[in-house]
């Protein structure tokens, strides 16, 4: 049996604008996660260029990619991925210890509305709270780009909205370039731009006239 090359992405051409919120929509297998991995420096495109502030990520070494993630990218995962042995504050501090100009962990936690939960361990927090700690952790180092992979995927609608509101607020207040990946089309309304992926290509790319209020989104 010969090897078959599968193209996860093909002919993708996308600009993320400074300070804007972009929502990447697509069904499972559409290539949106692969795109996020490449933007986040977790994966390297087999061909093509990924330019970040004038430098081509495709040419980065493993070490340079790590530094890129360390100093420039904030990640929010679908399943939060908090360190279970550290409290909320310590989870945030874990990242701020590495950064050059971080927020205080307390400041980041206040921003996500968790000032009263700073000394709780992940096992003592609800799913929504855990995800907000994860957001605080991602923004505390003041990243240039915040990547959120299905941030509401593991949450009920009510809690999911709460998390989206936090992301909306962070984007507005810190002007951090934000990309949210989701299969939930309704969420597209809250972004400055919406990119719809299908079979590894961009099927649709449009700007919203204005960002919808999270409360008005229903799913």
């Amino acid at each position: 049996m010969g090897e078959i090359t599968v193209h996860a992405l093909r002919d993708v051409n996308l600009d993320l604008q400074q300070g804007e919120m972009t929502v990447l929509l697509g069904a499972s297998g559409s290539g949106k996660s692969t795109l996020l991995n490449i933007i986040g420096g977790l994966d390297v495109a087999s061909s093509g260029e990924v330019n970040y502030m004038g430098r081509n990520l495709s040419e980065f070494t493993e070490r340079q990619l790590t530094d890129y993630r360390r100093f420039h990218v904030g990640f929010v995962f679908q399943f939060y991925n908090l360190i279970s042995s550290l409290t909320a504050r310590e989870n945030v501090a874990l990242v701020t210890e590495l950064a050059s100009d971080p927020m205080q962990p307390e400041e980041a936690l206040a921003m996500v509305g968790l000032s009263d939960r700073v000394n709780h361990f992940p096992s003592q927090l609800s799913g929504g709270e855990q995800q907000r700690v994860a957001i605080a952790r991602a923004i505390a180092k003041r990243p240039n780009i915040l990547l959120c992979d299905e941030p509401t995927g593991a949450l009920d609608a009510e809690t999911g909205k709460l998390v989206l509101k936090v992301l909306d607020r962070v984007n507005t207040e810190t002007r951090t370039t934000t990309a949210i990946i989701t299969h939930n089309a309704a969420i597209g309304a809250m972004g400055d731009t919406v990119v719809r992926m299908s079979s590894g290509s961009i099927a649709e790319h449009h700007r919203n006239a204005s960002r919808a209020d999270v409360d008005s989104i229903e799913w």
Binding site: G40, L42, T66, Y68, I83, L86, L94, L98
Partner: protein
């Protein structure tokens, strides 16, 4: 193949590193039982066979001279089944070399027929021909060391006359399994041999025609040896009897028994350590494997697989590890046992000594290890199968953390996030952490115990040969000579200092306890032979009273100030009451020491001596050795330097072999614990670590988080292992005390450094292997998958 077996096969392959490391620990456990217990059994069997075959005596007695006609009296004593008499002497051998003279212990055998007791076993050549008075049989170790074969001739100075003797046979006797030259402490095969010759040769040569100077007796099973000894001493008193002693005190038997004791003790202790570690590892690894497969267990049970089937499936991991370890351990144990017995052969002349592991022993070792290992496995498996399917379907509850004792003490501030993560992981599973540390500590302990044996021997030898025995040459005289011989010796070219000594056989009595021993009389202000206690401090010889070894003080239950009844067994055989002036905390032998002139006074002797210590110019030694060979009165010449050197040479070989095995054994344990714990940690925390990598942590930082825990456990384990090792060494030093020596509790700092360094290096190497797996962590997966 059933799907369950295919699953088993694939998972075994992916866990091969862990399975092999557990198998090795099991193997080492089985190996240590088979090697140590097997060699103990082999030694005991060889000893018993040999003693029976050669009719090993039960009681020995030396005397000055008694007529042969006394023998029926000894034979008729109650409890005696047989008695044999003989003439024995130490003679200088006239060999063509200028080194330290060699000596032969000449033992007479009947002119016709074989000895009734302590028969000679011929290895090569033949027994003495009747009437051939120039024939000898020599001991095989000496023959081997000197390259003698039957048919060769050897010259010996017998009673001042050089005689040429024909070697007709090479043989052994149970009295000389461990053959130590006079004044020596261990075999020196090239300098000392046993010569069996016809009574027709030795009797006339030593003015013992129709007489004897040694008797040996065998007793009936129900005889009371102590009563027989008392009777023998009474009969021989007027013939210069030097005190009868039982088999237990026969020098060669005493050493062999002490060695067997030691072998039995360590053979019980060491395998226990390995078994304990194997149980723990199987519990740890299987427990973790099962925890990661909760969902699959639930599915299997939901499909209708029975608890027994699911349990067996997981138990098979243990079965594979244990069977693999069992096979390796059995093969290795038999091989190592053979090598181990080889070391014994160097020191002990036991014909028919070969390593043989009985089927029973192999079965016992295998069962002990497999049952032990399965105990650990079954505990883990039982936990898995008892889970109801619905509960097993849910993921395990998230790990609960809270600040541990360290942080509640306010010390957490000192740590960064990484330090806190490591610490909380250690504190979250205190029992598992403790056992991991204990496992590593055991390998530190094994090294400490192993090296301690050598440290203590070296310390003992150094104290004896460098501090106590400061002479260049030590002479023993065949009979007592006037002290004025010191002037003759001083006059020899190259001799710069002479100190003479007197040794008298005596019986010491305290209440109803008694011991026969040689009282040594040294110069009170002597420089060449000093009386030192265990710390190397000089004990001054009192003008009156005895300095006795602590071992002897214990045996006689006396302390400083108590009176001892001393009955001299030579000369006028005076009986005197003497105080114990000092107790000597020494290691070797049972010494009783007095000031020389005080000894002459209380024994009623004139100023006579039976040995001398000399300081000589090294260039004059070859010439002096030649001169001493011609001195009829000199029967023994020895030198502490040569003794120490040849001892070290012999020890170095055994030490190399033993060290290699100790390091390998300790390494197997350390690798087993550290590698498995790190692998488990990686599988438990892989997602967490990958998340950190996504967030921009470098590999080295993530590795620190993963392996820091093992590092802490290893660092805790080192002092713990040293404490355990010290404790066991101390217990062994006490437990291995015999009548003739005490093991000094001395651990060289080098032992501590080597043990600690070796464990750190082994742990680091195991961690490094696991660290490489970090490279394969998939960063992309953690974004999507849930634990």
């Amino acid at each position: 193949m059933s799907p369950l077996n295919i699953k088993l096969r694939r998972e075994l392959w992916s866990l091969r590193g862990q399975i092999v490391s557990i198998a090795l620990v099991v193997a080492v456990g089985i190996m240590s039982i088979i090697t140590m217990r097997g060699s103990y059994d082999s030694l005991v069997r060889a000893q018993q066979d040999y003693y029976r075959q050669s009719r090993f005596a039960d009681v020995w007695v030396s005397l000055v001279r008694a007529p042969q006609t006394l023998m029926p009296v000894l034979e008729s004593l109650p409890g005696v089944t047989a008695a044999d008499s003989r003439v024995t002497f130490l003679a200088t051998l006239d060999l063509d070399d200028s080194g330290i003279p060699a000596h032969g212990r000449f033992v007479s055998v009947p002119a016709n027929g074989r000895p009734l007791l302590n028969d000679v076993l011929i290895e090569r050549g033949r027994y003495l021909a009747a009437g051939a008075s120039d024939e000898v049989i020599i001991s095989s170790k000496f023959a081997e060391a000197r390259g003698f074969d039957p048919g060769d001739t050897v010259r010996a100075i017998i009673n001042g006359r050089s005689r040429e003797l024909v070697i007709v046979g090479i043989g052994n006797s149970p009295e000389h399994i461990y053959a130590v030259p006079p004044g020596g402490l261990y075999p020196e095969d090239d300098r000392y041999g046993v010569f069996w010759a016809s009574r027709d040769l030795l009797g006339p040569a030593y003015n013992m025609d129709g007489a004897f100077n040694e008797a040996v007796l065998s007793l009936s099973d129900d005889a009371n040896p102590q009563a027989v000894i008392t009777d023998v001493d009474r009969v021989l008193e007027q013939y210069g009897g030097l005190g009868a002693y039982p088999r237990a005190d026969q020098p060669s038997n005493l050493i062999l028994e002490a060695e067997l004791d030691q072998n039995r003790v360590s053979g019980a202790v060491i395998p226990m350590i390995f078994l304990g570690v194997a149980v723990f590892l199987l519990y740890l690894v299987l427990g973790r494997l099962i925890a990661t497969q909760r969902g699959e267990i639930a599915v299997l049970k939901a499909f209708g697989y029975r608890n027994r089937e699911v349990g067996m499936h997981f138990l098979m991991f243990a079965v594979v590890a244990v069977l693999l370890g069992g096979a390796l351990g059995t093969l290795g144990g038999v091989y190592l046992g053979d090598a181990y017995i080889g070391i014994y052969r160097q020191y002990f002349n036991l014909p028919g000594l070969e390593y043989r592991a009985t089927g029973g022993l192999l079965l016992f070792a295998f069962l002990a290890c497999t049952l032990g290992a399965f105990a650990g496995a079954i505990a883990a498996v039982l936990r898995a199968v008892s889970l109801p399917p619905a509960e097993a379907m849910r993921p395990e509850a998230p790990a609960n953390f809270r600040p541990g004792i360290f942080e509640r003490l306010g010390l957490g501030q000192l740590l960064g996030s990484a330090g806190r993560m490591i610490l909380r992981n250690v504190e979250r599973k205190p029992l598992q952490s403790f056992f991991s540390s204990l496992g590593i500590a055991m390998s530190v302990a094994i090294l400490t115990i192993g090296f301690f044996m050598f440290d203590s021997i070296n310390y003992m030898m150094d104290l004896q040969f460098r501090q106590v025995q400061r002479e260049d040459i030590s002479l023993t005289f065949r009979e007592v000579v006037p002290d004025s011989i010191a002037f003759d010796l001083s006059a020899l070219d190259g001799v710069s200092r002479v100190e003479t000594y007197r040794t008298i056989a005596a019986r010491l009595r305290a209440g109803n306890l008694e011991d026969e021993i040689a009282i040594q009389g040294f110069d009170g202000d002597g420089q060449l032979r000093r009386v030192l206690n265990a710390d190397g401090e000089r004990i001054p010889l009192p003008a009156h009273g005895l300095v006795i070894s602590s071992l002897l003080a214990d045996r006689l239950q006396v302390a400083v100030g108590d009176e001892l009844l001393v009955e001299f067994l030579e000369g006028k055989r005076f009986k005197r009451s003497l105080p114990v002036a000092a107790v000597l905390d020494d290691f070797l032998g049972l010494s009783v020491i007095m000031e020389k002139t005080a000894l002459w006074q209380i024994s009623g002797e004139s100023a006579v001596v039976n040995g001398a210590f000399l300081t000589v110019d090294s260039t004059a030694r070859p010439a002096l050795n030649q001169i001493f060979k011609q001195f009829p009165v000199v029967t023994g010449v020895s030198s502490p330097d040569t003794m120490l050197e040849s001892f070290r040479e012999q020890l170095a070989d055994s030490m190399l072999v033993a060290s290699a095995f100790l390091l390998a054994f300790a390494g197997v344990i350390a690798v087993g614990v550290v590698y498995n714990a790190a692998r488990i940690s990686l599988s438990e925390r892989g997602r967490e670590l990958a998340s950190l990598r996504v967030m921009g942590f470098h590999r080295s930082e993530v590795a620190t988080l993963l392996l820091g825990e093992q590092g802490i456990l290893t660092l805790v384990a080192i002092p713990m292992g040293l404490i355990i090792g010290y404790g066991i060494c101390y217990a062994m030093a006490i437990g291995l005390t015999t009548d003739i020596y005490r093991i000094p509790f001395v651990i060289d700092p080098q032992t501590i450094v080597i043990s600690a360094l070796f464990i750190i290096i082994t742990a680091a190497a195991s961690a490094w292997v696991v660290r490489r797996r970090l490279h394969r962590l998939s960063l992309v997966d953690v974004l999507k998958t849930r634990e």
